[in-house]
């Protein structure tokens, strides 16, 4: 009774190893155990043979048919993508430069206004408040121009991505 149970346990254990045994993926000692079991077990031998046949079939599956011109199309798409990225980088650089310029411009205007505001007001025959108003308008126009340019570049990028 115990011997039968032991044999059945051993059989189940071997059966669970058949797939790996069929592709020689077991440790040598376990592989030998499986092979020894196969000599005395017809059902396992059939299953082992079927699994080995399946593995052989998978090895000789014909490769899928490649779409005509796949390599050329891929190469062209990669080149186009690289060119688009290069252009995006250039646009980003331009945008960065414009932003930096706007800030520098703003800081220079503020410095001029503080240091030479009175002299300029006298030269232009305007009051301090009018001059300050003029600087503020100039600064707002510069900021608006930068924001508009940023928006335009962003729209162009989005359109290119959609294309």
């Amino acid at each position: 009774m115990d011997k039968d149970k032991h044999n059945d346990n051993n059989h189940q254990k071997i059966r669970a190893s058949l797939a790996l045994a069929a592709v020689s993926a077991l440790e040598p000692a376990v592989q030998s155990q499986v092979e020894a079991h196969l000599e005395s077990c017809e059902p396992c031998r059939k299953e082992f043979s079927a699994l080995r046949g399946l593995a052989s079939d998978l090895r000789v599956l014909p490769p899928p048919v490649l779409a005509f011109g796949l390599a050329q199309r891929t190469s062209a798409r990669v080149r186009a993508e690289l060119a688009a990225r290069s252009e995006r980088r250039r646009h980003n650089l331009v945008l960065l430069m414009v932003t930096v310029f706007a800030w520098i411009d703003t800081l220079i205007i503020l410095a001029i206004a503080r240091m030479f505001g009175n002299d300029i007001a006298r030269l232009l025959h305007v009051s301090d408040s009018q001059l300050t108003f003029g600087f503020v308008v100039y600064w707002l126009v510069a900021v608006a121009a930068t924001v508009a340019l940023t928006g335009h570049v962003g729209r162009v990028h989005r359109q290119r991505r959609l294309v």
Binding site: N7, D8, H11, Q12, R15, A16, A19, L20, A22, V23, A25, C41, P43, C44, K46, E47, A50, L51, G53, L54, A55, S56, D57, L58, R59, V60, L61, P62, P63, P64, L66, A67, L70, A71, Q72, R73, T74, S75, R77, V78, R79, E81, L82
Partner: protein
Amino acid sequence: MIAPFFTAVQEAPLMAENALIRLRRGDLEALTELIEEHQTRLYRFLLRLVREPATAEDLFQQTWIKVMEKIRNYDPNRDFTPWLLTVARNLALDHLRRYRPESLDEPLSSGDSMAELLPTTGEDQGAALLAGERSELLVHALHQLPVLYREVLTLRFEEDLKLEEIAVLLSIPLSTVKSRLRRGLESMRKLLAPDLQVGSHG
């Protein structure tokens, strides 16, 4: 244990090495050479993962775009093919996660047997295996498996990678590769010929 895998580049064809070096320098002519050299393996691998030719082709192209992005990070002392397949796999899995809500280790889509679809097997079974119809059924059965099993089966049998190489490529332990290989084979066996299954011992 894995050392032979990483030294495989020494056995790679000289042309491929040159193309890789040129590509790293930004030579786009080398890209076409590499695509042509690897297109069959890469497309087949992607097709096995995503199962749809149009999607596989799109991912094929995305893979090469990604290769161009990452080529400067590629270690030329490593074999190019596993690196390429890793890039492709990541893109394919991202695609599957995005467009297929079910888990990547989903159970078989159905318990249906494909036995009735198989050509009649007789004495010339060996010859019939070579027939296109049989191959189509094998591919169909392969495509029914969860992607985690499919990729191990195709890498082992179609791409002829060693189990250790597959473990490195998939970043999983060798024991997991073996487990997926076993389950994949057993699932295919059940799908293809349940009537040939053997009952319990005795």
